[in-house]
């Protein structure tokens, strides 16, 4: 009741009359919430789309059988079909293609047994859900393909027309025999899907006699575990029998890095937003000190004052958060396409057809925005409650002046720092399994660290400021010296401004650095593994979405080495293997050869130990992510399923590899062939003799094999450029949010400086009174603003570098391994500094002009 009274009679008028500050605060919260909402929506939508793709493609299947990257013999199908308890077992071939023509477009191609598949998936080619004029023809011809109505409409292709598809098996021409309604599997990948009969798919993709997957459903009343065991027993070792839900979990693992980085920048946007609120409320408290004093003198209670400010924050934050929800939807809409493309390129085929819109999640984000605003407002609100009633009568320069530089604050700052450090230490020493290895610790540490820096800023500011005096006087003369003195006279109030800028810049710099570090590490790693001059593969090396390539026979190696100009050829084979519910990426190559020329990055263990991978020993190297998550070290061992049963492999070393977020295992090709009995090769990496022309060698290779098979020979340089593009695209969203963060930071700077100059009307009046010219006043205020910006910017950049390291440690290295170096993004640093100074000066212009035109008499009689 009391509160509502006060809100209505006091706060509303402030909101009404101080529009500028209100707009800033609202924009800040709004942008912060919008960033979070957008991230959340995009995250959900992409994940949902990936899950949908899997679920629609999965249908009623209870179990899915997979067996290695290159597929498994189709005889297994009959084995499974005959097992008691099995209702249906249907074959699946999965492939990826690109539509060629005016517009390149990625396409998922699903090969299914169209005669049987309706038992598992919701559609039938003879039903109304599809328009297939001649199913017999569809079944009879191997070039038959079905497109979704959506896709066909978009590319303008109708029934009986031909469509060219670039597949891993080369360029194929298919004939559209029918269109599918967007139901069941036709909804997969947002409709960018084509369906073929499984046997036609086998022929088209060079997989005659083999299958990628079998989807199984049970007869009613079967026990899941019994059935799973029965199926596993019926198959040779090395097959993976898993639930489709298991595959969804795989997607989450797969998208781990993507989601982590998104979460990170989301947190940053929130932090900066909180700081803006803290700042706005603080300033409001300073400005309304006298009002608070009067209220206190008239009998306003402390808690009433604090509650008033909190309630104002609540009102503004609620309004801004709702606005932010709407804006976030817009952001999400605008960015989801790019993100989906990036996910497609890096992880798996997906295309987000619609945003996953859920009120609970929207409201949750808005709620977080409001709550964060309130938390941010608590400290300044309590400061407001501390304003003494005497402030109403006496012109105390700044009520909390002594307090903010007093021992209490120093103590509090030290305490925060101490807790932050202990959180960090606890996090660092904790083993991966302990509850202390929690993201919460890092977040708390970062918040406390920021708090500690904010608290100590007036002191820091007081130390730094004198250093600038001579420089200022030298550069700007009297007004420069005066500006410096002015700042010093009001250290506390300006300290708050500096703290605001400091925190904004710190957060921007930290998240820019973190993202930059990830990017740089990825590039460094990538450069370290691609040492060859030419990459020869049968499918396009950039075939996306983890598409299975068309392997080549091992004999090609010898023939390729005979080609003039070729120095050495290294085979590379890629596969997947199950381990503790993870789908590990198996990377197979000739270790002896690679050790010669490739500076693989070893994280733990000695480089000499890599020799253990050599042919006759059962050793592997694993990547850091896997080592961390499964707590494996060199000298430990792990059991991997092979087609000939489980084999125990020793861990020779932990290497740096970001090929898969689920985990990477390196294996010598000879060891691999011994256990997997797989003589095929996915890519040959060719090193060209010094002096030989890469282009000529490339042509020679194409000429030599071009007649037999379709080959791609990509120059490594070209390949790297393409991959860099893909990697860069994956950071688009992160960068966008970083920019939002910077905008919020900029708003914070403007708010602070506006307030700081408004406060000084009287002071400026005095200066004018004693004979300062208008232009001198203008210059003085601008110099002050820029100086505040510069000091805040420099301190902030320094703090940002530290905080970035903490984020790196707490959020990135935990998942991806310690070898991700910390790289300072100098360009971002420069930007931040420029922005701090520039925005501050800009923010100073309006108040400076106001100051310059101050009516001397009014300014002096006021108060």
């Amino acid at each position: 009741m009391k509160l509502l009274n006060l809100l209505r009679h006091i706060s509303l008028k402030h909101l009404h009359l101080q529009k500028l500050q209100l707009v800033m605060a609202v924009s800040g919260i709004c942008l912060g919430v919008a960033a979070m909402v957008a991230i959340d929506l995009v995250n959900r939508s992409v994940l949902k789309s990936c899950e949908d793709s899997i679920n629609h493609a999965t249908g009623r299947a209870v179990l899915q059988i997979t067996g290695g990257e290159a597929g498994f013999p189709e005889e297994m199908l009959e084995r499974v079909q005959k097992l008691p308890g099995v209702e249906y077992a249907v074959p699946v071939i999965e492939a990826t293609g690109g539509l060629t023509g005016d517009k390149e477009r990625a396409l998922m191609i699903l090969g299914i047994d169209v005669l049987q598949d309706h038992h598992i998936r919701d559609y039938s080619i003879t039903d109304e859900s599809a328009e297939i004029p001649d199913p017999l023809l569809f079944l009879a011809k191997r070039d038959s393909i079905l497109l979704t109505r959506t896709l066909a409409g978009q590319i303008g292709i109708g029934i009986d027309q031909e469509v060219n598809v670039q597949t891993v098996a080369g360029l194929k021409t298919f004939k559209v025999r029918g269109l599918l309604n967007p139901e069941g599997p036709a909804r997969v990948a947002g409709g960018d899907i084509a369906i073929m009969d499984v046997y036609a798919a086998q022929m088209a993709f060079g997989k005659v006699g083999s299958l990628d997957r079998i989807d199984v459903s049970f007869l009613p009343g079967q026990d899941f575990d019994t059935m799973k065991a029965r199926i596993e027993a019926a198959l040779p070792p090395g097959y993976d029998v898993d639930t489709p839900a298991g595959r969804t979990r795989q997607v989450e693992l797969l998208l781990g890095r993507f989601r982590t980085s998104m979460r990170l920048v989301g947190c940053m946007a929130l932090f900066v937003g909180m700081y803006l609120i803290y700042n706005t409320v603080s300033i409001s408290v300073v400005q309304r000190r006298r009002e608070i004093g009067i209220l206190r003198a008239l009998g306003g209670g402390r808690m009433q004052i604090a509650a008033l400010f909190l309630a104002e924050t609540l009102a503004v934050a609620t309004f801004a958060s709702l606005l932010g929800m709407a804006l976030g939807l817009g952001f999400a809409q605008a960015s989801v396409g790019v993100v989906a493309q990036s996910v497609t390129e890096m992880y798996l085929r997906t295309s987000v057809s619609e945003l996953v819109f859920s009120w609970p999640s929207l409201l949750l984000n808005a709620g977080i925005g409001i709550l964060a605003s309130l938390i941010a407002a608590v400290f300044p609100s309590l400061a407001a409650a501390r304003v003494t009633p005497v402030s109403a009568i006496r012109a105390v320069p700044y009520a909390a002046d002594d307090f903010l530089r007093g021992w209490r604050i120093k103590f509090a700052a030290c305490l925060c720092l101490l807790i932050a450090l202990s959180c960090l230490v606890a996090f660092e020493v904790a083993s991966p399994a302990s509850p202390a290895k929690n993201l919460g610790f890092v977040v708390v540490a970062v918040i406390l660290l920021l708090l500690s820096i904010s608290l100590i800023t007036p002191v820091l500011f007081a130390w730094t400021l004198p250093l600038t005096h001579n420089l200022l006087a030298f550069c700007f003369g009297a007004q420069g010296r005066l500006a410096g003195l002015n700042l010093q006279k009001n250290i506390t109030r300006n300290g708050v401004a500096v703290a605001a800028i400091l925190c904004s810049i710190a957060l921007f710099v930290s998240s820019a650095n973190t993202v930059h570090s990830m990017r740089t590490s990825l590039f460094e790693w990538f450069d370290s593994i691609i040492r060859a001059d030419l990459l020869v593969s049968s499918g396009h090396p950039l075939a996306t979405g983890g598409a299975p390539t068309i392997p080549m026979p091992a004999e090609m190696l010898g023939e390729m080495e005979k080609i003039p100009g070729v120095q050495s050829v290294e085979p590379f084979r890629k596969g997947r293997v199950s381990y503790n519910g993870r789908k590990l990426m198996l990377e197979v190559f000739d270790v002896a050869l690679r050790m010669d020329y490739c500076p693989a990055m070893i994280a733990v263990g000695k480089r000499e130990n890599m020799a253990r991978l050599l042919p006759d020993q059962d050793y592997v190297a694993i990547n850091e992510g896997l080592a961390l998550k499964e707590r494996l070290r060199p000298g430990d061992s792990l059991v991997l399923p092979t087609p000939q049963g489980p084999v125990r492999f020793g861990v020779a070393a932990v290497i740096v590899s970001f090929s898969s977020d689920a985990g990477v295992v390196w294996l010598d090709i000879n060891t691999y062939r011994r256990h997997w009995r797989d003589p095929l090769v996915d890519t040959y990496e060719v090193l060209v003799k010094p002096g030989a022309k890469i282009k000529e060698v490339r042509q020679a290779i194409l000429d030599r094999f071009g007649g037999e098979r379709r080959l791609f020979a990509l120059e490594a340089a070209e390949f790297k450029v393409e991959v860099r593009k893909i990697l860069d695209r994956s950071f688009v969203m992160t960068n966008a949010v970083n920019i939002i963060t910077l905008v919020i930071a900029g708003l914070g700077i403007i708010v602070t400086l506006l307030a700081s100059v408004f406060e000084r009307t009287r002071e400026i009046g005095i200066l004018r009174g004693i004979g300062m010219t208008r232009s001198q006043v203008l210059a003085m205020v601008l110099i002050e603003s820029a100086l505040i910006g510069a000091i805040g910017g420099v301190l902030g950049a320094a703090a940002g570098i530290v905080i970035g390291w903490i984020e790196m440690e707490g959020m990135i290295r935990v998942d991806l391994g310690a070898s991700i170096g910390y790289h300072v993004h100098y360009a971002a640093l420069l930007w931040a500094l420029l922005l701090a100074v520039g925005l501050s000066a800009l923010a100073g212009i309006y108040p400076a002009r106001r100051a310059a035109t101050t009516n001397i008499v009014e300014a002096l009689t006021y108060e």
Partner: protein, 229 residues
């Protein structure tokens, strides 16, 4: 009504201790109109602030209606300020955003009364100070005298035991000052206890008792009129 017992107020300026008030003992009875005089820096305002609970003594005891202001919690002090004391400041201290009526009603709003109840009381008081036609004006639209009359109306709205006025005419011309003093005096004649700080002997003469401070100590205490009853 108000009792001060060996009250002292000390401020710390750097390493220096400044005694604004020393060893003041004073009794103010109901219905008195006490003028506090003294040169600048003699501790007049400090004394008033201690009586009003805006500031707290560093030595001695301050009682209001028998309650020790020096020893009660901030919350209780706040309630006493709100309900028992009406304050009039030299610079009026009206909230610039609020209308005259809202400013007058503010103490009651702070007390949680709905504006609909506060409003008629505020209007009545504005009428009493002769500003009934100014109720919707904001302070910036009022003259100095009008602002001070609004402030007096505000001080009266809770029906306080005592009105404390700190140089109420310090910012006003002599004609307007006169009006304000007459207003205060008529309030006193109706039984309102008033304590007023001033450095102007003419103004002090409106009171029924004058005390004079010098360097933080009580220099003179003289009763010049009859206490209203």
């Amino acid at each position: 009504m108000i009792e001060l017992n060996k009250v002292g107020r000390m401020y710390r300026q750097g390493n220096r201790e400044v005694h604004a008030l020393k060893d003041i003992s004073l009794m103010i009875g109901k219905g008195e109109f006490l003028s506090i005089m003294g040169p600048s820096g003699s501790g007049k305002s400090t004394l008033l602030n201690l009586m009003g609970g805006l500031d707290q003594a560093t030595a001695g005891e301050v009682f209001m209606d028998g309650r020790p202001l020096h020893a009660i919690s901030d919350n209780e002090l706040t309630l006493i300020r709100r309900r028992r004391i009406g304050y009039i400041f030299q610079f009026f201290n009206l909230l610039p955003l609020l209308t005259a009526e809202e400013n007058v009603g503010l103490p009651l709003l702070l007390d949680g009364l709905p504006f609909s109840e506060v409003r008629p009381k505020a209007a009545a008081l504005l009428r009493q100070v002769g500003l009934h036609d100014r109720s919707e004006h904001r302070p910036e639209q009022l003259s100095g005298g009008e602002m001070q009359r609004v402030a007096i109306a505000r001080a009266l709205i809770t029906g306080p035991a005592v009105i404390l006025a700190d140089e109420p005419t310090g910012n006003l011309d002599s004609h307007t000052s006169e009006e304000i003093f007459l207003l205060l005096r008529s309030l006193n004649e109706e039984g309102q206890t008033i304590v007023m700080v001033t450095h102007d002997p003419k103004a002090a003469a409106y009171g029924t008792r004058i005390i004079t401070l010098k360097d933080g100590t009580l220099a003179e205490d003289m009763v010049i009129g009859e206490t209203a009853s």
